[in-house]
Subunit: 324 residues, 2 copies
Amino acid sequence: MSNATPYDLENEKIISEIKSRGVKTVIIQAPDGLKAHLKDLWMELSSAGITVYISADPCYGGCDLADDIGRKLGAEMLIHIGHNKFVRTAEEIPTLYIPAPYLVDLSELIRRSVEFLRSRGVRRVGLVASLQHVHSLKNFVEGLRSKGFEVVVDDATGGVVLGCNGEAAKRIAGSVDIILHVGGGDFHALGVALSVEIPVYIADPYKGEIRDVERLKRKTLARRWWAIQEARRAQIFGVVVVAKVGQFNRDLALLIKRELEARGRKALMVVAEEVNWERLSSLTFVDSFIITGCPRISLDNQEIFGKPVLNSEDFKELLKVMEG
Amino acid sequence: MSNATPYDLENEKIISEIKSRGVKTVIIQAPDGLKAHLKDLWMELSSAGITVYISADPCYGGCDLADDIGRKLGAEMLIHIGHNKFVRTAEEIPTLYIPAPYLVDLSELIRRSVEFLRSRGVRRVGLVASLQHVHSLKNFVEGLRSKGFEVVVDDATGGVVLGCNGEAAKRIAGSVDIILHVGGGDFHALGVALSVEIPVYIADPYKGEIRDVERLKRKTLARRWWAIQEARRAQIFGVVVVAKVGQFNRDLALLIKRELEARGRKALMVVAEEVNWERLSSLTFVDSFIITGCPRISLDNQEIFGKPVLNSEDFKELLKVMEG
């Protein structure tokens, strides 16, 4: 661990992997929040005579690999920081995944979690975490058990949740009172909350606070239902294929197109590297969009979208609503 | 021309090209302002049994081809609307360029131009236009000549200017008093103004007005000089390769890196699909950026950039300033 960053970027591992493969040029990808911490890694690699490209594009997950542009640049290896392997098919260039755990001590946050859960009368706690914090679950388990809580972590997933996958919470929700998510921001915790019926709290390592996501969950679900109801009246749908390698679902998009056409609607196939309202809104003649890439794009941006935007799960609901 | 759009999208030509090639799937690309006008083309192609993908990503020029994603989607042809061929090397898939001329009658704008130029005492007028309006230059020439003006249009370029290329103005600037640019917005006219020393006026077909770009030119040049002067103090430079096919200049970027290192500076290679301040600003440890893609990115966004951002022409000036 470098003094400059609270994340373990495993510089030694990266350098030894690069050297053992005889690689001269690499491309590095990281989520925006981690980019500021890439200085030491870059400087160490440069001193070792490696040419380093850093991707400035946003990177939201392991679904989003800069392997194609890496190949174009002549990079022989992709260093993908902050996420685990997600794309199962072969990558364009060999890829090293660096999870970048957050190394700051969380004893004080564990103490606060105990206090908070006691004040809520909770007995049985399910634990999940985003990838940067999953190594801390061991300490959370010990800390909570020592204070008399029953604590469950899902074995199969190790407790890790992704933005699009709350499996680690779903699998244990039946046997606990609440889910405690260890991680910053609301993004991952909202994903968890949307996949279970029980309350979800956030233990936030950056703010040092415990908070819930119920209000955000209710708002998100309300907007989701508004979008589905509104989409019923749409005549022209834009079915969006997202170009990112792990979000590319052309065949699903073509299937949705056929389903729409079978119901007398028109479907325009749309493709985008990056999906946001600025881009979709230029297609003024489309009444509603269905995004076949990341399911969170529609859930998290409904307030910004000027038209109903659905994901493929929402589309299934829309079909029911259309038929009902 | 369809009733719905003032641009000639040449639907018949597109459809006959597609049919004669036996193409079943196409991808269409257009600048944001033209996307709203793609409905008829899409519907005609759909009726003919063609699967159509429309790219929702912004498209700034012929340098920016969605051929790669088209190939991934299985498209056998790219319809690129609003620009001429720019990339000289072979495209990934066969590409049809549709210039999309604006078909609205401009006689009133020509009348206003005559009035305006007379009031300024102008005698010799050089004419240029953006691609959508270049077909109107013939009428401008006739209209102005019939009122006694000397009028010059560059033969070699036909008077067309691109955002990055004011050649059509440069070649005639020595033999006229002013340049009149026919086109909307300030973008193309600013490019023209930056490439010549004489006054540049805009005849705007959308607003129906004549205006100058002198203030904008002075502001832009002042900010450019600020950026070059500031960059002199930078220790860590980010040298940005832009991934767009016609802006991809890896070798130039590597050359700039070597030039910087020869002067004791550090250079981080950066790559981006799309360059904006949000993306560059995540690299907090970089003091100044040099963009090797579109030269307009740095010129047009200097007010938004929080650090000095140069293009490769500015970089040449920076080297002089460093040595001076």
